[in-house]
């Protein structure tokens, strides 16, 4: 039975500014890679955190069947949000501990709905630390951002 991994990353030039997201989906049978699927996209005016969220959302939404998978991200914002903050936010009706509206709430809600369908394990890696799959997700995110960056003079 193949195991499914999703490596996700976001990129942003300016923060806020043009940004992109990248997803690398790999099905592995033991150490053998069975299939690889790459996705990228971008927006003209966004933030790094939003692109990190979009990468994880896309990874989950793009899987047609309910799946067991591991999402590997280098974003501590996504990791901390999904592992701890989100419980408090939901309990308080999507308000922070300081009773302020949650930033990027529509993306957090979308991520929360998307993960319901699947059996997700979240894994955090340090970015730009020589993980080939994380590096590839970063490349895809930059590719997704490229069309939205102003042309160089």
């Amino acid at each position: 039975m193949a195991e499914l991994f999703a490596y996700t990353d976001g990129a942003c030039s300016g923060n806020p500014g043009p940004g992109g997201w990248g997803v690398l989906l790999i099905a592995r049978d033991g150490d053998q890679e069975v299939k690889r699927r790459e996705l990228s996209g971008g927006e003209a005016d966004t933030t790094n955190n939003r692109m990190e969220l979009m990468a994880a959302i896309t990874a989950l939404e793009t899987l047609e069947r309910a799946s067991k998978l591991t999402i590997v991200t280098d974003s501590s914002y996504v990791k901390d949000g999904i592992n701890s903050w989100i419980h408090g936010w939901k309990a308080r009706g999507w308000k922070t501990a300081a009773k302020k509206p949650v930033k990027n709430v529509e993306l957090w809600q979308r991520l929360d709905a998307a993960r319901e369908r699947h059996d997700v394990t979240w894994k955090w890696v340090k970015g730009h630390a020589g993980h080939p799959e994380n590096e590839r997700a970063d490349e895809l995110a930059r590719e997704g951002m490229a069309p939205f960056k102003p042309a160089k003079p």
């Binding site: 299939k35 690889r36 699927r37 790459e38 996705l39 990228s40 996209g41 971008g42 047609e64 895809l140 590719e143 997704g144 069309p147």
Partner: protein, 196 residues
């Protein structure tokens, strides 16, 4: 059959299209070539100005380049490349190629013709042969702002058509890119291997 208006749109934009495809990241092209055996017989199916066909020749492959546009074929002709003016329906060989590279070419054929061409490609590939398919994704058919005819397919339709013809997808990439007409559009690249 080939579409006259599409051919005319390319005939007057050979240089512009050539510089556009040359500037593209060639990653997928390299990965396709890496998947082929030494001395492979390769067909660049809808080759345009033939940058991929030239690359195959440089890699030591037997490089064939077909396009319905005589202007594109004139540009595609190069040492080591067998270039000919041909339409998709001219592909009638059996188990003849180790690789077929169809990069954003089959999207100019009507949707109704696509299953026939996918069957012809599968038939023309040797067992274990490799297909690279690049398409714009979406639904329906339309003509773009410079007169080119386009047929759009969803990822699921493409994968199903491949599977029906004994082709298993091993790699996919989806994103958005700006085309010759300047607008952003979603695309997909699929690499598939013929079973058997």
């Amino acid at each position: 059959m080939s579409d006259k208006e599409t051919l005319a749109a390319y005939a007057t934009r050979v240089d512009k299209y050539h510089s556009m495809v040359k500037a593209e990241p060639a990653e997928a092209l390299v990965a396709f070539a890496d998947a082929l055996p030494e001395g492979a017989r390769v067909l660049d199916f809808g080759c345009g100005p033939g940058h991929a066909a030239r690359y195959f020749a440089e890699r030591g492959f037997e490089s064939h380049a077909w396009d319905a546009s005589p202007e594109m074929i004139a540009t595609a002709e190069a040492p080591g490349v067998t270039a000919r003016v041909a339409v998709f329906d001219d592909l009638t060989e059996e188990a003849a190629y180790d690789g077929i590279y169809a990069s954003f070419s089959l999207l100019h054929a009507p949707r109704a013709d696509f299953p026939r061409y996918m069957a012809a490609i599968a038939r023309a590939l040797k067992p274990g042969g490799v297909l690279h398919l690049g398409m714009k994704t979406g639904t329906g058919e339309k003509r773009d702002s410079i007169g080119r005819f386009y047929a759009y397919f969803t990822r699921e339709e493409l994968l199903a058509e491949m599977d029906t013809n004994g082709l298993s997808a091993v790699w996919e990439k989806a994103g958005e890119q700006a085309g010759l007409d300047g607008t952003m559009a979603p695309y997909i690249l699929i690499r598939a291997v013929k079973r058997g």
